[in-house]
């Protein structure tokens, strides 16, 4: 049972994620999570004003079903398959986070400093999460995909554009993690 409650190894997890992508291909679809954001905009009526959202969102129902399943999976995994040994990151990383006043994991998936409900009382913390979201939403649509669409699906199909996008992901990520994050948190 420890095998299930402890962190899953990178080779088993990576292998299953690869199979998930292949199974969606077998079902006549493709693996890509950020397209759901576009679908949700269309569902909310954005297509009336803007052509980019004017498409039949019902054709994307299958992907919304993947999202619903993923949410359920997240619920089951955190509430029934977790234990306090989880998220044991590098002690060096913990020490580094401490200098930015970000709490150590101690079994938690997310730091309280950025994600606890106290965030709702801090305009600055609210802005950090919303701006992060805007960058993710804007960037993934501009690049035509996110980690699932480019890093997993695209690289698996040996697509040069996906390699360029993934290099972009890491340039942006490294700039944020090393230079911007320490200034704003």
């Amino acid at each position: 049972m420890e095998l299930i409650y402890h962190i899953w190894s990178w080779y088993i997890s990576g292998f299953i994620i690869g199979l998930i992508m292949l199974s969606l291909i077998y079902f006549g679809k493709h693996f890509g999570m950020s397209s759901n954001l576009r679908t949700l905009c269309s569902l909310a009526g954005a297509g009336k004003k803007i052509a980019f959202f004017n498409f039949d969102w019902k054709s994307q129902r299958w992907n919304l079903a993947v999202v619903a399943g993923a949410m359920l999976g997240g619920f089951v995994a955190t509430h029934y398959l977790s234990d306090p040994s989880n998220v044991s990151i590098n002690p060096k990383t913990i020490a580094q986070l401490q200098t930015m006043n970000i709490d150590a994991p101690q079994g938690k998936l997310m730091p309280d400093a950025l994600f606890s409900n106290a965030v709702f009382e801090s305009p600055k913390a609210i802005m950090i999460l919303i701006i992060g979201g805007i960058l993710i939403g804007f960037g993934s649509r501009y690049a035509g995909g996110c980690t699932s669409g480019h890093a997993i699906s695209g690289l698996s199909n040996l697509q040069l554009p996906s390699l360029i996008a993934v290099i972009g992901f890491f340039i942006g990520g490294l700039i944020m993690a090393h230079f911007i994050l320490p200034l704003i948190v």
Binding site: W10, S13, G14, F15, I17, I20, I25, Y26, M33, C41, A46, W62, A65, V66, G69, A70, M71, L72, G73, G74, F75, V76, V87, I89, L97, L109, M110, L114, S116, F120, I128, L129, I131, G132, G133, I134, L135, I136, G137, G139, S140, R141, Y142, G144, A151, L155, S156, N157, Q159, P161, S162, I164, A165, G168, F169, I171, G172, G173, H178, L181
Partner: protein
């Protein structure tokens, strides 16, 4: 195995019910496994993303490498044997449109957000399902960002 008329009736009702579309069940199941794997591998964790960008753990790189390797082998097999999907249609995987600007610029913008809030689109949904209420703010932002792209699309270099 004998199927009773009542059971047959239920099956037909399910098949014809447009609100409970049975075709979607397999996608819910795939998503369910996706949600569990991403949570249990801790790829949804802000900490793991931060640690990855600090090069202080191999874990996330290992996940991405094995996933891509599995995908490459699978897709090569699909192409070599011209495999068909579950409905009998030959599998065709569309190539991405060639360009550099949009992938690089879009990628950098995405990366900035990824490292800031530690989640990409999949994990945003998974974490909300797991009960992290504050991640709804990230989702609101992501929808705003997607909308903004739709508005500015024609003015951006692609």
């Amino acid at each position: 195995m004998r199927i009773t008329p009542a059971f047959r009736q239920i099956t037909i009702t399910y098949k014809n019910n447009k609100y409970l579309n049975m075709k979607l069940v397999k996608f819910i199941l795939v998503g369910f496994i996706f949600g569990i794997v991403l949570t249990k591998s801790e790829a949804v964790s802000w900490y793991r993303i931060y640690e990855m960008f600090q090069f202080q753990s191999f874990h996330m790189y290992g996940i991405i490498m094995v996933a891509v390797l599995t995908g490459i082998i699978g897709i090569q097999i699909i192409k070599k044997y011209n495999l068909k999907d579950y409905s009998g249609t030959p599998i065709h995987i569309a190539d991405k449109e060639p360009s550099t600007v949009r992938y690089l610029l879009g990628g950098v913008i995405f990366g900035l957000g990824w490292a800031l809030v530690g989640s990409c689109p999949g994990p945003i949904f998974i974490l909300i399902g797991a009960g992290f209420t504050t991640v709804i703010l990230v989702l609101v932002g992501a929808l705003l960002g997607t909308f903004l792209y739709g508005v500015l699309k024609d003015k951006l270099p692609h």
